[in-house]
């Protein structure tokens, strides 16, 4: 599991690769900390290379959203495969995040 934060066109982009399971969650949480300083910039969570996500991962996504929203930032999710999308649908997360292709 690898998490990378990039800044591009004034937005913060988090790129996830591999499996975001319970075991990987603590490390990922550390990697996502820079997103807390978004300061009104939009955040894009790039899931193109993400194979798997468990509830621990979803909790991290929700954490990002709860931190960013009061600061006026939008949080976008991009590149989800069908399995991930079904998990998002199941949990209602698909209504919380803005989807971007």
């Amino acid at each position: 599991m690898k998490t990378t934060i990039e800044e591009k066109e004034g937005n913060l982009i988090a790129i996830f690769e591999g499996r975001l399971d319970t075991a990987a969650a603590p490390q990922c949480e550390q990697d996502l900390k820079p997103l807390a300083d978004c300061e009104g910039r939009d955040i894009i969570l790039d899931c193109t290379a993400l194979d798997y996500i468990s509830s621990s991962g979803l909790r991290l996504f929700l954490g990002v959203l709860k931190t960013a929203k009061p600061k006026g930032s939008h949080v976008y999710v991009t590149g989800m495969n069908a399995d991930l999308r079904s998990v998002f649908t199941m949990t209602g997360f698909i209504n919380l995040f803005e989807m971007k292709s």
Binding site: S54, D83, V87, M90, L96
Partner: protein
């Protein structure tokens, strides 16, 4: 039939008929009495009249006869002046016949050779010529005068035995006139007493008939005079005169009474008798011309000087002719009067009752619901007027009453409609799709409820969550709407609490907390809640004052139950749960007291004993399937109760447990430490299982996710922080499903008891966490938790397509 209808249908007709009959009876009675009285008076009058006539006739006859006697006896006194000379004697005879019109001939019969020159027997006679009324002179005794009348022993004439005057027996004058005659003879004596001649006077009897006809009391009475030698002197039929023996005549008439009367007459008695003359047609009997048949009154009396007997016979029919005619006329008059009376009564009553008829028409209209119909105007102040006024009052109050009734009915209808909706809502709260689990082979459930009122206080419910069957049955105190409200609350609480709580005692306790709080109406519920673990057959239950269920397997037994107390009475009561293992092919039968206490018309109860008997019959016929079992109980109850009204709600619920054993296709396991970092190992294990079962990547991902969430949950909460332990995961598959069993030795922890997360909440409202078990439920077909022998056992199942 028509007549009877008319009589029964009309007061006027009936009254007229009754009055008519009564008057007719009285008048006819009076008529009979009067007829009888008139008849009696008539008979008395006839007697008086007849006797008077009789006396009159007899007197006349006696007078006439006595005239003749006197004339002859007077003549006999001075006869010797004339008789000694054969010329002078004619003067005597002349004088006699000249002074007495009744005498038709006078004769002097001299003794033998009294005047030798006149032959041996000289008999000068003077007689009236019947045609011219002048006197003729003759001598009788034949041309030679040799016939001696005096010595002939004939009826006609005197014999030497008689010294006084003598009336001979009547006879027919065969020699000359052919008339009935009688002769009076007086002897003429010498001074020495020797008889030298006899003076005879012939009297024709025509006048007797004439006198009798004149004297007879009625024109139709018949007269008859008989002589002492039993001959008729006078008779309506003149051919009988001096020609017929009266006794023979009477006998010929064939009438004993007639003979008797004749005998009395010949004994010269006076009196009257009644006899019947048969009609001519009836028998071949001799009767006389002009005789009227039927009853006759016969009056008779003697004429003593000549020993005759006189009789009048009067036919009763003639006497009664006038009274009878009177009677007939009276009858006609009576009939006419009765008819007139009936008509008058009918008309009067009909007119009097006409307002009633109009009132009946109005009432008929009212009966159709038309209360505005006007009543007939009756200004009279009598009973009918009062009746009309009463009707008017009734009309008004009836109208008011109907209006009120309509309002009440409308209100009632609206209430009933609401009640029906309530009943519908309540019914919809009960499970109603049967069979409820057509896809399952391990369980079969059936339940029914029959409310005593539209809405009932009984409840039952069941559902399967996490491979556990939750069942509940209860009875709210009381009936009707209040009970149904508590029922709805209880059933809802059961669903809510059991949604996250699998321990029956805690479910009951929570329901109790809610209901007992502020329970001002003191309603309470007897409740039985059971949780059947379907994989194992373990049955945990908690009874709050309800009837113990029956366990129907190879035998029938009552499930041992702590009764605790009903729900809603004591706040914070500690409810005790119990546990048993339900063997496969066993039916658990739950019911409310509406079944045990079903009453028949003799107020006998159905009782638990009968329920057990019916259950035994079900075992005997090897049919304990819930549907037929409940039907069997219902039918037994209905047969017992008969026509009696149902007094309480009857609710029954039956659960048949049939555990299915299936072949194992795959069996693998892995044991992990309680460290979430071992999740990748778990992922590899799951992927290996999925690969063997040839699942597609998506399913594999889903199973991975479910297993991770379940195992991480156990690792995180079954062991307190810092305590090391293990988690064993076993995968088992058969043709139908894949099953993961997660076992640990940690503290009791039921992940299924967590409340479900609300996925519709916004990001701000959402708690971090709680998603794990939600995902497991979403991804797997069932989740089941059991605490078995100090271990937490969590089972996840996924059906294979």
């Amino acid at each position: 039939m028509d007549f009877r209808k008319k009589i029964n249908g009309s007061v006027a007709s009936r009254t007229a008929l009754v009055v008519l009959v009564m008057v007719a009876v009285v008048l006819i009675g009076f008529g009979f009495w009067q007829t009888h009285y008139v008849r009696m008076v008539m008979v008395q009058e006839v007697h008086r009249q007849a006797n008077r006539s009789m006396d009159n006739a007899i007197n006349i006859i006696e007078d006439r006869i006595s005239d003749v006697e006197t004339a002859l006896e007077t003549a006999a006194g001075y006869a010797d002046v004339f008789t000694k000379d054969d010329e002078l004697c004619y003067q005597l005879l002349d004088r006699l016949i000249g002074h007495n019109d009744d005498i038709s001939a006078v004769t002097l019969l001299y003794r033998e050779n009294f005047f030798p020159e006149h032959g041996r027997y000289f008999a000068p006679t003077v007689f009236r010529d019947s045609n011219e009324g002048i006197l003729d002179y003759d001598e009788i005794g034949g041309p030679d005068h040799d016939f001696c009348y005096l010595e002939t022993d004939s009826n006609w004439i005197y014999t030497s035995q008689h010294l006084d005057g003598y009336w001979c027996l009547p006879y027919l004058d065969t020699m000359s006139t052919q008339r009935p005659m009688v002769t009076y003879s007086v002897p003429l004596c010498e001074p020495n007493g020797q008889i030298y001649a006899v003076l005879c006077a012939d009297v024709a009897l025509d006048w007797v008939k004439q006198i009798m006809e004149e004297a007879k009391p009625y024109p139709y009475s018949r007269v008859c005079v008989i002589s002492r030698d039993q001959q008729f002197i006078c008779h309506p039929d003149s051919k009988n005169i001096l020609n017929t023996n009266v006794m023979e005549y009477s006998r010929r008439r064939g009438n004993a009474k007639s003979v008797e009367v004749m005998e009395k007459m010949l004994r010269w008695e006076r009196g009257s008798d009644t006899m019947s003359l048969p009609s001519k047609a009836s028998r071949n009997i001799q009767s006389d011309v002009g005789e009227i048949p039927g009853r006759q009154i016969v009056f008779y009396a003697p004429v003593e000087s000549v020993l005759w007997s006189v009789s009048f016979s009067i036919p009763e029919s003639s006497i009664m002719e006038v009274p009878n005619r009177l009677k007939t006329n009276m009858m006609w008059l009576l009939c006419f009067m009765l008819a007139l009376l009936a008509l008058i009564i009918y008309i009067i009553i009909h007119r009097e009752l006409r307002p009633l008829k109009q009132l009946a028409v109005s009432t008929h209209e009212m009966a159709k619901g038309n209360f505005d119909v006007p009543l007939p105007r009756i200004s009279r102040n009598d009973e009918i007027g009062n009746l009309r006024n009463s009707f008017a009052e009734m009309q008004t109050s009836l109208e008011n009453y109907i209006n009120k009734l309509q309002t009440t009915t409308a209100q009632k209808a609206s209430m009933e409609s609401e009640l029906s909706i309530a009943s519908h809502i309540q019914a919809s709260m009960l499970p109603k799709t049967y069979p409820p689990y057509p896809e399952r082979r391990d369980i079969e459930v059936f339940g029914t409820q029959t409310p005593a009122k539209a809405v009932g206080g009984d409840l039952y419910d069941f559902y399967i969550r996490d491979e556990k069957l939750f069942i509940c049955i209860g009875d709210v105190s009381g009936k009707g709407i209040p009970a149904s409200l508590v029922m709805a609350v209880t059933r809802t609480l059961f669903r809510v609490v059991s949604g996250h709580e699998a321990a029956p005692e805690r479910i009951v306790a929570q329901i109790n907390e809610t209901i007992s709080l502020d329970n001002e109406s003191n309603m309470f519920v007897t409740l039985f809640i059971g949780v059947l673990d379907l994989p194992t057959g373990r049955f945990r239950y908690c009874n709050a004052g309800h009837d113990a269920p029956l366990i129907v397997g190879t035998d029938v037994q009552l499930l041992p139950c702590e009764s605790n107390i009903p729900v809603g009475i004591v706040h914070n009561w500690k409810f005790v749960a119990q546990e048993t293992i339900i063997q496969p092919q066993t039916t658990v039968f739950l019911y409310t007291d509406g079944l045990t206490e079903a009453e028949n018309s003799h107020h006998e109860l159905f009782t638990e004993q009968r329920i057990i008997e019916v259950a035994r019959q079900a075992i005997d016929s090897a049919d304990i399937a819930p549907f037929s079992f409940i039907n069997r109980q219902s039918e037994a109850m209905r047969a017992f109760v008969g026509g009696a009204e149902q007094s309480d709600d009857v609710t029954m619920l039956a659960v048949e447990y049939t555990k299915q054993q299936q072949d194992v296709r795959l069996l693998r396991d892995i044991t992990l430490p309680n460290d979430v970092q071992t999740v990748p190992q778990l992922a590899k294990f799951v992927e290996g299982v999925c690969e063997e079962l040839a699942f597609d990547p998506s399913t594999t991902m889903q199973l991975n996710l479910a297993l991770e969430e379940a195992v991480v949950n156990v690792m995180s909460y079954a062991y307190p922080a810092g305590v090391k332990g293990t988690v064993r995961i076993e995968a088992q598959a058969n043709v139908e499903r894949l099953k993961f069993t997660i076992t640990d030795n940690g503290v009791p922890f039921d992940p299924t008891a967590k409340e479900a997360v609300d996925v519709s909440l916004s990001a701000e409202e959402r708690p971090i966490g709680g998603l794990g078990i939600f995902l497991v439920r979403e991804l797997m077909d069932s989740i089941n938790y059991e605490r078995v022998s100090g271990q937490n056992v969590l089972t996840l199942r996924k059906k294979l397509k």
